[in-house]
Symmetry: C2
Subunit: 387 residues, 2 copies
């Protein structure tokens, strides 16, 4: 087992009605609030009115930043930082999914950053200071409500880069806010959750027992509850279980004690989103089974892990060779049944940028330490297998 540090300061209020913690959560930080959200879905579900009602009743001074994109862009970060500075913002309130929260993390850090904000996004220096961030989650997917990371896009130069900014101080996770999430986004969000697990579960470390059981528990929970949520969008049990696993999946907890892997599918998917602005979880769902089959073929010595996956997650039995393949097929079939488009062709994506995307995903020979090391040529082949 590898050494690890667990230090997640986020306070998480989970369950229906937890919005009643909002006033107290903000009040400790000050009166001037930046209320940030995306395309307006929070207005449709009445959450915007609820939140502004609480802010008005509490005597907060509110500045709004709306229209944060599904793959949040550097322009939104720049605007947010400007608004924070102009309005002496004390605390940022992000209401939305991972995109809104990611964007707000970069804004929170950007307020104190001296140089250009894209330079901050692209830098590997640690962020030392950030405004406090409170969020109200409306999508079970990225886990941004319980980690410090954020991913920001610069479509001008086709770059989508992750960095570590700041943990939310408080996350309010009420599953009923996800009742209106479309079937497509529910499935894509679940694919994202599952991918966060796959990225660490497929590792050479065999002796971090609890991490592996947590990972498998998250996958089994996703497999049980996604179909229910798709069939009955207002099923509380299903929405709550998906929301709970989302937060843990990307927290680092399922990887404690395990050797790092470089998160190969995320590296590849960020290229797809940067070039084509597609839904992150859909890109991951398409890439994952292809990546699995590729590495299993490239290095059959990793098959034991796929056998465990098939047995413990899918409950399959049989001989090892059959099992390794069957587990991957079960996953692909699960995504297909959730009506996720399972080829890049269906998204209108062709071969045109494959070489460029592969090179960028593997810049600095980044994926040489993956579970099965990947070369740029390998990545090209995986992209092509997705067409």
């Amino acid at each position: 087992m590898k050494n690890f540090t667990h230090a997640i300061p986020t306070k998480l209020y989970f369950g229906e009605g937890q919005i009643d913690k909002l006033d107290a959560a903000l009040r400790g930080f000050g009166k001037n609030v930046l209320l940030a959200y995306g395309g307006g879905s929070i207005k449709k579900i009445g959450l915007y009115d609820t939140v502004t009602g609480i802010l008005t009743a509490g005597g907060f001074t509110v500045t709004e930043l709306s229209g944060i994109e599904p793959n949040p862009r550097i322009e939104s970060v720049r605007l947010g930082v400007k608004l924070c500075k102009e309005n002496k913002i004390d605390v940022i309130l992000a209401v939305g999914g991972g995109s809104t929260i990611d964007c707000c993390k970069a804004i929170a850090a950007g307020v104190y950053y001296k140089g250009d904000l894209w330079e901050m996004v692209a830098s590997r220096h640690g962020i030392l200071k950030a405004l406090p961030l409170v969020d109200i989650l409306t999508l079970a997917a990225t886990g941004s409500e319980y980690d410090a990371g954020g991913v920001i896009s610069n479509l001008e130069i086709n770059e989508k880069l992750g960095n570590v900014y700041t943990y939310p101080a408080v996350s309010i996770c009420d599953p009923t806010y996800t009742y209106s999430v479309s079937a497509y986004q529910t499935a894509a969000g679940t694919a994202d959750i599952m991918s966060h697990i796959f990225e660490g579960y497929f590792s050479r470390t065999e002796d971090s027992s609890l991490s592996d059981y947590i990972a498998e528990g998250i996958l089994k929970t996703a497999i049980k509850y996604l179909p229910i949520a798709l069939k009955e969008p207002t099923n509380y049990e299903a929405r709550a279980n998906l929301m709970m696993i989302a937060s843990v999946a990307c927290s680092g907890i399922p990887e404690y004690g395990k050797q790092g892997t470089g998160w190969p599918c995320h590296s590849m998917e960020h290229e797809l989103s940067a070039f084509y602005d597609i839904t992150h979880g859909v890109g991951l769902a398409i890439l994952t089974p292809r990546w699995m089959r590729f590495i299993l073929k490239k290095d059959p010595s990793c098959a034991w892990r796929f056998v465990r996956f098939a047995k413990n997650v899918w409950g399959l039995s049989g001989d090892d060779e059959t099992l390794a393949i069957a587990g991957i097929a079960a996953l692909e079939n699960f995504f297909r049944e959730a009506k996720i488009p399972m080829t890049l062709t269906e998204l209108g994506i062709g071969e045109e940028h494959v070489a460029e995307m592969a090179a960028h995903a593997n810049r600095g020979n980044y994926l040489k330490n993956a579970f099965v090391p990947l070369t740029t040529e390998d990545i090209e082949e995986i992209f092509k297998n997705c067409l």
Copy 2:
């Protein structure tokens, strides 16, 4: 799924050599350190020298509190509070197992408590303020390094009471510090870990999926690694896995989303320790299978949970009635093979205080909301079944 709040501020440094974080962990709080420990085992393993070396090199002013008891007593809390006040302590450093950490939590809170310290222990008021606490863990058992609770005994009046004091700010968890823990204490500690899971796992809530998988993962990890640690006390993998599950087991995390149960076995065991000063984990190991058999007989409608336990934790198969019994038998056999004395008689305990202990465990009709509600008469019978 029930609502829950996750707010654990403890920073956990896990793994060999993490002692190098000690200086920085203390420095933020001040220069005056109360170094607290138990019976001297930390001197035998050289940890005392390592710690005092770091404290001296860092220029800290150290006050020592030694001799904290295995079931820490109110007298140690009183002495610790006195030392803190006299020496203007900025931060408490607990080096030891759960007993030392529990005692230091009560000291940390006691420094700011206005009334009598036993009144604080026995009170149900929330503790509002406490000195910062850093710990170095030397026993995988209670999980005190990752929760806010502490249990203090008053042997004069045969009371052993738990309360919520404060979370450690930093816990340093190095599995090599447990290499010298005796087989008896290793087994007892693991029984304590497993009991923390049983207390929440046997609940009426069926839809908190991840919590149940985490609980089962902890139990399976204990079952795998305890025999290895007993056979090879310096097996890092085994010691690391036991230490990791200990911290999570008592954190509340395996119960998130679940209905409270009142922790019946802990309620009963605290009586045994209060009257006979026995090892907590041993008392739990003796009580648990008897409690399980009793409730299964009292309310057969709870059998589904025992069936799941037998299948998912022990990997057993068969018809439901056989399974429910077989899972309990497997647990009792596991404790027996770990050489834990499995009757109270072996510990020299007879019927003399059974009625008194049962009444106190169930004061205020406390266990009426347990998984299977228990009356005082039920508890008497469970105690008698342990003889």
